[in-house]
């Protein structure tokens, strides 16, 4: 029970993620089969749908945008600040910070991770591992979107009695950029809303908010 309580946030999001993905699979299959009937084609099973390029492109286009959002948020907040936002460091604190502030190398504490105690490439890798992980998943998801989008798009082109196109043509096509940009704009708006609204609004008890009584001008305080 204690383990569940200490990991409740991750467990809750994982459960919601699985439920939402399952819901997307079922709803997507029903929509796909509706279109199959219109085209005089056979409906597909749930297994066939979740292994299809149509499902893969819908999943990966959302994943890439979410990881891009976190990549940008993590990297831009190193160098850019927003006065009054709990998501930002204080003005004047821009940059990667000193070794002493970051508790690395000779300034490492007894509980510091092993790669924070060393110097050189391992410290550099560990010191940027969060951004690298987000960036890697973003690139792989975007690549997966391009491949699955090409497959789904070409299947649709054949249904429409048109010639398939190459990967190069697909990644410069309006469809690929429409799928990408429609996700990016919503993620960027969500981050902007979080950064700006958290200056003036509060959520009591949430670490994503300043304490209710904190001044609007207070920066980098989490409640």
């Amino acid at each position: 029970m204690r383990w569940i309580r200490e990991n409740a946030l991750s467990l809750t999001f994982m459960t919601l993620f699985v439920l939402a993905l399952a819901g997307q699979a079922v709803a997507g299959m029903l929509e796909f089969n509706d279109q199959q009937l219109v085209n005089g084609l056979q409906p597909v099973s749930l297994l066939a749908y979740v292994t299809s390029s149509a499902f893969a492109v819908d999943v990966s286009e959302n994943w890439q945008s979410e990881y891009l959002q976190f990549l940008l948020f993590i990297m831009l907040t190193v160098w850019l600040v927003q006065k009054g936002s709990p998501e930002s460091k204080r003005p004047g604190e821009e940059g990667p910070g000193s070794d002493e502030e970051q508790l690395v190398g000779p300034y490492a504490k007894p509980g510091s991770p092993a790669w924070a105690r060393v110097t050189g490439p391992r410290l550099h890798l560990f010191g940027n591992s969060l951004g690298l992980a987000m960036g890697t998943v973003f690139v792989l998801s975007w690549l997966a979107q391009s491949v699955s989008g090409l497959a789904a798009g070409n299947a649709q082109r054949l249904t429409d009695l048109r010639d398939p196109i190459s990967w190069g043509a697909y990644i410069t096509s309006p469809e690929f950029w429409n799928r990408s940009l429609q996700n990016w704009q919503s993620e960027l708006l969500a981050v902007l809303s979080m950064v700006v609204l958290s200056i003036y609004l509060r959520q009591r008890g949430s670490p994503e908010s300043k304490p209710v009584g904190a001044p609007h001008s207070a920066t980098g305080i989490e409640g």
């Binding site: 893969a56 990966s60 997966a144 699955s148 070409n154 054949l158 048109r162």
Partner: protein, 128 residues
């Protein structure tokens, strides 16, 4: 991150599985269709069409076989290229371009006697 890594690995596997396509079966289906047309076995050729294509081909009062025979489709010739995306395929023969769809009982012809129209849909003598 572990579930995410597992999900990504699963996605990569699915993509790899999706890339391993069988081009021989649609090529054979297109060649068989044209062989039947060339041999004036129009009923057999109609049986290789999708249900929707076979239904839309004849005018009222006609059978599919009669309508297909009157079209006088040219010879298909040898298969020059095959593209398969999902359950759809395009087979280019020396004398024709054929569109097919994969059903549970095999590949069936959706459109034949097709001429390209730049990036627009092909103009087909037989289509659904």
């Amino acid at each position: 991150m572990r579930p995410m890594r597992t999900a990504l690995a699963a996605l990569a596997l699915l993509l790899a599985a999706g890339c391993a396509v069988d081009t021989a079966a649609p090529a054979r289906a297109a060649a068989r269709f044209h062989a039947a047309v060339a041999a004036h076995q129009d009923e057999a050729a109609c049986a290789m069409l999708t249900r929707q294509t076979a239904r839309k081909l004849p005018d009222p009062g006609e059978t599919c076989a009669t309508a297909l025979g009157q079209l006088r489709l040219g010879p298909g010739g040898r298969v020059t290229s095959v593209e398969v995306w999902g359950d759809d395929a395009l087979v280019r023969l020396a004398g024709d371009t054929v569109f097919l769809h994969r059903f549970t009982d095999g590949w069936r012809v959706r459109a034949a006697g097709c001429e390209p129209e730049h990036d627009l849909p092909y103009d087909c003598e037989v289509e659904d």
